[in-house]
Amino acid sequence: MNGFASGLMEALLRDSAFILPQLFLAGLGTLMLWPGDLLFHKGEKHKWAPVTGAILIVVLALVFRTPEGTGFSGMYRVDGLTKGFQILSILGALGAVALSQRLLNALKEQTVEYYALILFSLSGMLFLCGAVDFVSFYFSLELMAICIYILVAYLRKQERGVEAGLKYFLLGAFSSGLLLYGISLLFAATGGKTTNFAEMGQLLPVVSQSNTLLVGAGVLMVLVGLGFKVAAVPFHMWSPDAYEGAPTPITAFMATAPKAASLAAFIRVFQTALPGVADQWMLPLGYVAAASMILGNVAAIKQQSMKRLLAYSSIAHVGYMLLGVMCGPEGAQATWLYMATYLVMNFGAFAIVIHLQGTGEGERIEDFRGLKDRHPFLAFAMMVFLLSLAGIPPLVGFFGKFYLFQMAVTQGHITLVTIAFLTSVVSAFYYLGVVNQMYFKDAPALAEGAEPEATGMATTVIVTVACVLVLLGTGFAKPLLEWAGGIGSEKKASQVALR
């Protein structure tokens, strides 16, 4: 073996420690599809959920143990930011798997693909959190998105699901085309020298003097493409439809895990590759954030379906989190913290929606009437989640919001914080509307002898854990902040160190 090849071999063996969680995920996902499904569990479709859950827990442990550093010729980097957002994505996937049971057990077909696709898209997300090169960034974004297109259309016997899948797919393909063209323009602006974030970060301020148009167009297209992925206004059109049409556990998954990974990518791209040309994107990003907050919250008011309401509220929350992206390296930890609290509240709320939907009570807001009589605990938990989503103290949602807004104020984004504050007051209006339905409206008459169905184990666990976390989470603020502090400081380090 000559020197060139043995050098490659050495690098590969050394660097594979960084992507061990992804290798584990993708490898086992593949084995599950074939020959796993053929050899074990043939026809036993219930058995794959615990296996998937176990895989996810092992991956969570692996992520904690992954060494920090940069590998694969500067393509992939493990640091606090990577790990923080990877953990959120894994928790999102874990929640989605736990909540999927009732839906999948009702299906006649094999469901191993469902779990395998979640694992594959999760491995895309884990790559995305650590991508520090446009090649690996685009690769992981596509891996994540393509798997989710299929998951949205997974119930292919249902017209609604397939329609949502097609809509999401077409807009997703459009946005990834825009994103890729933007990347190619930035690549062209650097004279075709590099796709690495850090190297681009150094080259772009220099070349943007002469190639203003090229750099400007490239930056804007990357912004639009990423905006589509996190569903920020005005690139949000797909999101309510996809959320409504997708199987509800997948809706919960989409609202959390890919969003966390995309936000990590957002922070990486704008803070590592494009900080030198901040004047090109700061203002548009500010407009996008403000529009997301305003439109997300205002459009949520008139929604009839709980899933659509949560979709619009997630658009609004993305608007808040984009504030964190604008805040520079320190904003990363505020964004992470916000995403972590959002994940908990959102999964709690979705667990309840999924439970009610599964028992045939429906997903419309009016179906929540008089929930306090039928399920006192679920009604209470739902109230806690909704109040926390609205950001009412002392719940954990308030803590996340407060920290983020404070960060933004110190960075001088006064106007945006004012808008954010006003719109979160608006958001309290529709969240409280649901609480009103649950507590102060009479329940529709139950059919003769129909008893409200007991909650399943997975739902109970998720709702209880989420409820406790939301109620007491603020008490853990200090250790959480300290842990999140690692995200910010690592971020600063990553801007200095190249390879």
């Binding site: 073996m1 090849a5 490659l8 599809l33 074939w34 020959p35």
Partner: protein, 117 residues
């Protein structure tokens, strides 16, 4: 742009040729319209059905599978270019890559996507 002049000339000639031939044949040929002449040509046999026939959806399935496996060859090209330098390492890497494709093949086989009933 000097170097592109012959190409421009070629384009002009290429456009002119069919126009000239077409006009000439229009002037020279006799004009005898006949219904049979407008019929779709199907190896000299009278066509029985419309040419725009609906294909079985299985064709699409096979086409999609072909597409995916076919495009994988794209990743073989860089290896082919660097074959000598990569030596045994490249061979092993490509072996692993192709081995992974085997799992996809096994999967579609076990799903019965390759049987045509």
């Amino acid at each position: 742009m000097q170097g592109y002049a012959p190409i421009l000339l070629l384009v002009l000639v290429a456009i002119a040729m069919p126009v000239i031939v077409w006009t000439l044949s229009r002037l020279v040929r006799p004009n005898v319209p006949n219904a049979n002449k407008y019929m779709v040509y199907e190896c000299g046999i009278t066509p029985t059905t419309d040419a725009r026939e609906k294909f079985s959806v299985r064709y699409y399935l096979i086409a999609v599978m072909f597409l995916v496996f076919d495009v994988e060859t794209v990743f073989l090209y860089p290896w082919a270019v660097q074959f000598k330098e990569l030596a045994l390492f490249g061979l092993v890497e490509m072996g692993i890559f192709l081995f992974l494709l085997l799992f996809g093949y096994g999967y579609i086989w076990s799903k019965g996507a390759l049987t045509w009933e």
